[in-house]
């Protein structure tokens, strides 16, 4: 029990933050659902749109009738289960593989405790944390005005999903050699569970008259999918809510069995080794920058493709709904003010978001050099025949290329999606709109490079602040009716909508981009290495 006390003490802050944050997210979204959609007709309209749109079903979940509880279940359950799942897998790693890696286990194991004691303590503390989360969740639903039985069933589903991922996380800690890969396995497991039920729900059979859906088989491969079938607040089935506990027992049991048989520090999956020689691609600064950006860029590119594809799937549904619901048209108009038709509005709004995502991908690639600098990896590089301008310039080039990759792929995905639904003229507009976002995203990325050149120590923080400001102003500025002086500071405010009539702003943006790039490369020559 000393072990349990020690683990609790060490983790009280991090664990409390997770639990409270999830509970607040839950109560907030529950309250938002009941206040935003008053009246069965409004809810039915939204759910009709959802059921008609596979991508929304994949993102959200399954409704069951036109009650507020049905809409709540549709909107929030899968997200909450993912948040709770991540909390559990990270928790399991903190007390499992990470302890072993840092040698804390050695101290414990050398003392007079059984070899399974730390694992038992982790399981018990995890159980406790999930029960606390469950109670807070039930309270959150009650406070937001939902009925008691539904709140209990929903909380049960969340708790048992959380415990399933606790088991998976503990197993990951036995499989992986490092806490980093244990966490990766955990995150992949949670996202896979979310994606499987997403695929199953999207491919399911909607019943429009009952406003519900029969998911197809992939949903049944996911603990989140099982718990969804409890339909809390409507049918309140307890069985499916408890089903994830079987996975918890299975994964946890295997973790215990493996742990009892293996040596301290050993793992089932060995640390993967790398190549003994560098490929030609890695033998230059540009190659290094590209290699270091690769992993994250793949993720950003997948995001871009999904957003682009969303245009195609949303178009038909939105065109129908917007005809009967002026409110939705209003929101889309705010995102893309110069548009007349709904499809154009949708293309403008989604490509704007894609442009911002592309900018984030680029910023990340550029800021990597600053991480290299503070961690001491830049020093041996800059002691080679590499000038500071080439060092920063390579990362900047890769950052700008990352922007282009994300936007071009999003454009292609949108083209394919729209062309598949027979809107060939719209599909060309989507490609053009994607390309029109390039100069604006470039500006943010080049600005990050300038910051690295002139204020290295504050550059990471400032670069993301610039990005956040550009997003807030670009996305919400028109909605908030900010003055034009403020709107003009975001490069995204200067992106034209297709069909283009005025190339002026685009040319100006490109000139600004070139100037920022030149400034960064000149100024970085003048500065010292700074840790």
């Amino acid at each position: 029990m000393a072990v349990l006390g020690q683990q609790l003490r060490r983790d009280r802050v991090v664990l409390s933050i997770w639990i409270v944050a999830i509970a607040v997210l839950l109560a907030g979204s529950a309250a938002a659902v009941s206040s935003e959609f008053t009246g069965a007709a409004a809810r039915a309209a939204v759910l009709q749109l959802g059921l008609a749109t596979p991508s929304l079903l994949a993102l959200r979940g399954i409704p069951n009738g036109d009650s507020a509880g049905s809409l709540l279940w549709f909107q929030v359950f899968a997200f909450l289960a993912v948040a709770g799942g991540l909390m559990n897998t990270f928790f399991a790693t903190r007390h499992g593989r990470a302890d072993e890696e840092q040698g804390r286990r050695e101290l414990l194991a050398a003392g007079a405790i059984g070899r399974l004691a730390p694992l038992v303590a982790t399981a018990m503390l995890g159980l406790l944390a999930n029960l606390v989360l469950g109670v807070l969740s039930a309270l959150g639903f009650l406070v937001a005005g939902y009925d008691g039985t539904g709140a209990l069933v929903a909380a049960t589903g969340l708790t048992s999903c959380g415990l399933a991922f606790l088991g998976v996380g503990m197993l990951a800690g036995e499989l992986a050699a490092t806490s980093r890969s244990a966490n990766s396995i955990g995150v992949v497991a949670v996202l896979l569970a979310y994606a499987l039920r997403g695929a199953g729900d999207a491919l399911g059979t909607p019943h429009f008259e009952k406003l519900t859906l029969t998911p197809s088989w992939p949903s049944w491969l996911s603990p989140i999918g099982w718990a969804q079938q409890s339909f809390a607040f409507t049918e309140n089935r307890v069985g499916p809510a408890l089903l994830p506990l079987a996975l918890a027992a299975l994964a946890g049991g295997i973790a215990f069995a493996v742990h009892a048989r293996r040596d301290l520090g050993a793992s089932l999956l060995p640390e993967r080794s790398g190549p003994a020689h560098a490929g030609v691609g890695l033998r230059s600064m540009l190659g290094l920058a590209a290699r270091l950006a690769r992993g994250a860029l793949i993720a950003w590119a997948v995001g871009g493709v999904l957003l682009g594809a969303l245009i195609g799937t949303l178009t038909n549904a939105v065109a129908g709904v917007a005809a009967s619901n002026p409110q939705i048209t209003q929101v889309l108009k705010a995102f893309a003010p110069n548009r007349q038709d709904t499809v154009g509005l949708l293309i403008g709004a989604i490509m704007l978001m894609t442009g911002m995502m592309a900018a984030a991908a680029g910023i990340q690639a550029v800021l990597r050099v600053r991480g290299d600098e503070t961690d001491g990896r830049a020093e041996p590089l800059l002691a080679l025949a590499v000038s500071r301008a080439r060092w920063l310039g390579s990362a900047l080039a890769v950052g700008l290329a990352a922007v282009a990759v994300v936007l071009v792929l999003a454009g292609i995905a949108a083209f394919a999606g729209l062309a598949a639904s027979g809107r060939l003229s719209d599909s060309w507009r989507a490609v053009e709109q994607a390309l029109a976002e390039l100069p604006a995203a470039f500006t943010i990325v080049a600005a990050a490079a300038v910051l690295i050149a002139i204020v290295p120590r504050a550059s990471i923080l400032l670069a993301w602040l610039v990005f956040a400001a550009a997003i807030v102003i670009g996305l919400f500025g028109p909605l908030l009716t900010l003055p034009t002086g403020v709107l003009d500071t975001s490069p995204f405010s200067h992106v034209p909508s297709v069909p283009f009539t005025d190339w002026g702003p685009t040319v100006v943006l490109l000139v600004v981009d070139a100037a920022l790039v030149a400034l960064a490369l000149v100024l970085v020559r003048r500065r010292e290495l700074s840790s």
């Binding site: 080794s273 790398g274 003994a276 560098a278 990896r377 041996p380 080679l384």
Partner: protein, 297 residues
Amino acid sequence: MTIAIHTRGLVKTFGRVRALDGLDLTVEPGEVHGFLGPNGSGKSTTIRVLLGLLRASGGSAMVLGLDPWRDAVAIHRRLAYVPGDVSLWPNLSGGETIDLLTSLRGGADPGLRARLLSDFELDPTTRGRAYSKGNRQKVALVAAFARRAELYLFDEPTSGLDPVMEEVFRREVERVRGEGATVLLSSHILSEVEQLCEKVTIVRAGKAVESGSLSELRHLTRTSFHVATGATPAELAALPGVHDVHREADRLAFDVDTDAIGPVLTALTAAGVSAMTVAPPSLEELFLRHYGDRVES
């Protein structure tokens, strides 16, 4: 031939900290030069200025006849550097890192690379994040030695290595010395510098306090003896070059100037010795005696 490294009155300040306070350092071509000083005395800062990674606040510096701040890239083509604390890219394997670092200097000699990997007993397929401190250092050392350079700069290169690997490192330094290269090697361990270097500069609080050949610096160092012997304290104290004679349990403890060791040993043998330990001079002791500094090792 131009002087390999030459600084006069080099000053480097970080805000209020004066890391270098008028440092003079001269390294002739072809010599292995020890750069000796306790932690925080300014060794790494000097090397970073010589590499043009930092800009001097005052004084002058020349490396291979060029200005390190203005002509950094031209200088770097001709030198190899190993930092004191090596960090690697977590996802790149050791072999990839070695190839990257050498390609940016013109490419490794494949035979040399293979021999160094086996001599340093380094697995090139391990990922950066999985290497220990010593192995990270070996990655940087292999990258530095795998292609010939005119000048090698090593900042405390053996701090993470075990004695066997220190020996491999010494062999490689001897090899590049034989090829005519110049080496600057910083250290805070006197014995390490003694084994490798013919010239030494001792730095203290950002200033060079001594510089010369090892034999010129012999007068600075004393060897400590603990001996169980028939000789009396008075007899020993009367010998030239013997200091601080005192009794410790059944032993006599005293320090001997380096050039007086021979006669002292003769006298001890004559008087009879039943047990003896001899400790080499340490930098800490040297600083304590000559400058009244207490430096933590």
